[in-house]
Subunit: 208 residues, 3 copies
């Protein structure tokens, strides 16, 4: 039997997967993909980051291959977005941004924790958390032959990185695991929303 905390984490994980899959499907439809293409892009966006993390930390086969619920849910969410595409067009605004930020925070925290469980050291665990949050979107953008948005705009990967770094630091300070996870997730979530609200960006060098 699962503890209450495990149920909460599983529910949050499935919710994050759904949000990411719908966002991926919408971007796929905007690029004129057909039904299969939309499903591929939804799948990649939702489970790609976790798959790459698992391959890198040596957790083969990745969770999304072992546990069919994740790809099935992402496929279902992608299909629903395709069928109800008129409704999916309205999948925007502050609520969606907040849901997406929550998914990002959750994926980053889960990524750090899994990497740490596999013996990955703090510095690399921070990278693995960031990768878990943004990796799916990066592969999706590569499939669409576009420079991934997170490399040139928005405080998005940066928020995932901050949350991961806060979690790693809190663990190094021997805070209780739940407190560390909450602190990490909250910093990611807060930075992302603040950055959207205040239109914050990272520095670039002047055009060469």
């Amino acid at each position: 039997m699962k503890t209450r905390a495990e149920v909460v984490v599983l529910a949050a994980d499935l919710a994050g997967t759904t949000v990411f899959a719908v966002e991926g499907a919408i971007i796929g439809m905007r690029h004129g993909l057909d039904l299969l293409g939309v499903l591929v892009v939804a799948l990649v966006t939702a489970v790609g980051g976790g798959i790459i993390r698992d391959l890198l930390i040596g957790a083969a086969p990745p969770n999304a291959i072992r546990d069919w619920r994740y790809p099935a849910l992402a496929s279902l969410a992608g299909t629903a977005a395709f069928v109800f595409h008129a409704a999916a067009q309205g999948f925007t605004g502050p609520l969606i941004i907040a849901l997406d930020a929550a998914g990002l925070a959750l994926f980053a925290v889960a990524g750090v924790q899994k990497a740490t469980n596999y013996g990955v050291r703090p510095f690399v665990a921070t990278l693995m958390g960031t990768l878990t949050g943004v990796g799916g979107g990066v592969v999706r953008d590569m499939l669409l032959a576009q420079v991934p948005t997170v490399l040139s705009a928005d405080i998005y990967a940066t928020a995932a990185w901050l949350g991961s770094a806060v979690l790693v630091s809190a663990r190094a300070l021997r805070l209780p695991p739940a407190v560390a996870a909450l602190a990490g997730g909250a910093s990611c979530f807060a930075l992302r929303l603040l950055a959207v609200q205040h239109d914050w960006h990272l520095p670039k060098v002047p055009v060469w």
Copy 2:
């Protein structure tokens, strides 16, 4: 000593690898790559799908790394296509489409079977069969900085998916393995050829 069935499967596998490598080399030459680029693209097209499948199902190192005959054959086929590029330009028409469809069917069937042998559940095994068939072409298109054709046009990945799904279903119904494999391969092959002949496409949503 190998059984007759093993010899047939090996021969078919090597034939599929050769067809995919030549197709990859031709696409590479069309994009103005040099000899090395053409060989890389031939290799990726021929063995990329199987390599990604093996990494995902935890079959490391992938078969194409363990068994040098596959990359060697793909390199040889790519070199031949480069040297005899005038002849390779004629590598088109109904016979080639049929050979390619046969290669796709074979790769999809082999992908499902290997994934199942590694304990992957039916839903994900269907995805792994599809990936084995189209993964090499997808990575090739990504290398060429183009949106993979299979995401936006043609009943191609869909045929690989259908063949994989038929095979998985036939196994679930406890049909004899050889019958299940033949049913899967034949559905993939048939759908692909019917789609080419009747110019079938998957639905897309209207332009946003």
Copy 3:
């Protein structure tokens, strides 16, 4: 305690990682990426080839995940290139080309040796050496939505391939390991510099 040879190899490896990271960072800045994007591209350029090699030969988790010094060094080099971007613009000319060629030679030799240690056969080990040398740059170019330079121009991957092939052949001839490694590295380095000096290119087929 480390032997003198181990210290030399480690120092060379860290130097190669630094050069590749700075080159990656510069290319990222040229493409208008922000600080995070520049760091990602620096990291990928420096450790991407080795990571893909390790995944393919079954050495999970990859060295750059296990040993935090490599990604930390690459991040540091990328940050330095970003901060001192005016100086980094001057990161060109014969010295840099020679340093880059040395890094390429070193990565190729290290790649062949690691693959061989993991039981990879000679033909594929040659491919793994080449991949170790150029894989990071290929993934970087894919992230930037460009056809990787090594596929269409320059004797670069070819130099890595030659060095790998010389090393594999020297080992097959049972030359002492150090001699084989030196012969491989020197051929890669020499071919790369000769190709730059004399503007050598691989053949392409005439435009179709």
